[in-house]
Amino acid sequence: MSATASPAYPTTWRPPSLFGSRRRRFIFWAAVVAYVIWSVSDLNIDGNRILAGLPRALDIFARMVPPDFSRWEMLLSGMLESIQIAIASTIVGALLAIPIGLAAAANLSPRPLYLLARGFIVVGRTFHEVIIAIFFVKLFGFGPVAGLLTLAVSSAIFLGKMLAEDIENMKEGPVEAIRATGASFGQVVGYAVVPQVMVKQLGVLIYRLDANLRHSTVIGIVGAGGIGQTLSASFSRYDFDFSSAILLTIAALVALGEWFSDWARRRLR
């Protein structure tokens, strides 16, 4: 009683594939399977060791519950150190970011200086904070100073890049207008550049504070201070109930930091 199905209409139809043709889809999935086989065999992944890990995972998990907060003083001092590293490095990083950002803005800085600053940003951004941290640990020894410097450098690079991009995207008109009044370079920056980029950069700064808080929990693993050092030590002593207490505290702190960062950035708008 439905469509009076005359045989003129086709009875088969295939949905169009995401890949354009079925052949290309086959090639894609064959490549994925081949890659997985190659990489798994290349890594010498031992199935037995994974199986042996499962009961151990249960054991570790059982020892993690309930988390042990009895050494809260140690936990608190580690967390405070992480927070201090995050705040101090954000401020130092912001100060360092101003010259970097000005130098890396194509519309303000002379060509050779621009290329130098951009090169520094590209190379610096590539390396993970932990790699930078290990060099500062070698230079300044174990402790929060290495952590502070690590995050200050990576913040300076990140903030400098954002500042440079913001300056490059700002409207040229006001800069020319202020220049036309006979203002000096400093006055041009103060009256035409700062008002245009200030609000957005404050937002980026708050975002970076949040990011530094996350990173400050890790760099301790190579001895650069903060809660990461405490966590790493607890793992190596199989002190898993203390580890879980630290992990929960880190998760809470990071979630809180994200919430604060979202809230503060909303207030800015």
Binding site: T126, V130, I134, P144, V145, L231
Partner: protein
């Protein structure tokens, strides 16, 4: 009409107006909040820096030490390069396999954590809890945990990358699910389709671009993360870097750093290219 009405109402016919000789950009209330933020920031800065007990004496010879380090690094020991290749491939394997696993795990988590597809308040909370836990613990810390479970090696690294990426991908995908128009879901529901058919037919095609784009973006972040997983024993080039630094083999360290720089820049460019092709 209007032009005539205004001056009369303003009483602008006044012979002489006095103009203010001071001008403030912000109202007192705005100034107060600005000052409070500034004082709060300054207080936090002073507290942080003073509490860290910085030994300023260390900085005195820092530049000498840094110069010394650079001198010992140069020239890079290129003969070491062939030994770097295998750990580099291992690093990329860890990032790729970890990302693949996380995509598979992230889809169900995203459906749990999106308000319009989750089953009830309880499952929504479970979904959100997975997001928060996965995202707030750094890849390297996940690495510590998985090394304790599986022992040192790339398996721990793959698990660490997957554990951190699940939350990252699922959060963005859940946001995309919440943005799917309710009417389109309703229309498929009205045909009498089952819940999973609604997910598959009305929602999945709409979020596919976000899922693919986010996964590729996360993959290039993961290459960077994998470069340090070796520091906690979770495989990859980091192991070699850590060992070389501890042996003070600085010219070797430079070769490794250059290799890391190369793969990260290449993977970033590749990821940006593929993402620009998709959208």
């Amino acid at each position: 009409m209007k032009a005539n009405a205004n001056p009369r109402r303003d009483g602008g016919a006044e012979p002489k107006r006095s103009y203010p000789d001071t001008w403030e950009r912000h109202t007192p209330r705005e100034r107060l909040t600005q000052w409070l933020w500034l004082i709060g920031g300054a207080f936090a800065a002073v507290w942080s820096v003073s509490a860290l007990d910085i030994e300023w004496a260390f900085f005195a010879d820092a530049h000498v030490q840094a110069a010394d380090l650079i001198q010992r690094m140069w020239p890079p020991r290129w003969s070491y390069l062939p030994l770097v290749v295998r750990p580099l491939i291992e690093t990329i394997h860890i990032a790729t396999l970890g990302t693949m696993i996380s995509i598979v795990l992230a889809l169900p988590v995203a459906f749990l954590a999106a308000r319009n597809t989750t089953l009830n308040q309880g499952t929504w909370l479970i979904g959100r809890a997975i997001l928060v836990l996965s995202r707030s613990i750094n890849t390297v810390i996940w690495g510590l945990l998985f090394v304790a479970i599986f022992g040192p090696g790339p398996v721990a690294g793959i698990c660490a990358v997957a554990a951190r990426s699940v939350g990252f991908i699922a959060k963005l995908v859940a946001e995309a699910i919440e943005e799917v128009e309710a009417g389109q879901i309703e229309a498929v529901e009205a045909t009498g389709a089952g819940t999973f058919q609604i997910y598959g037919v009305a929602i999945l095609p709409q979020i596919l671009p976000v899922l693919i784009g986010t996964s590729i973006y996360r993959w290039d972040i993961n290459v960077r993360e994998s470069s340090v997983l070796g520091f906690v024993g979770a495989g990859g080039i980091g192991l070699l870097l850590y060992a070389s630094i501890n042996q003070f083999a600085w010219s070797q360290v430079l070769v490794i750093l250059i290799a890391i720089l190369a793969i990260i820049i290449i993977s970033e460019a590749l990821s940006a290219y593929v993402r620009s092709r998709i959208t």
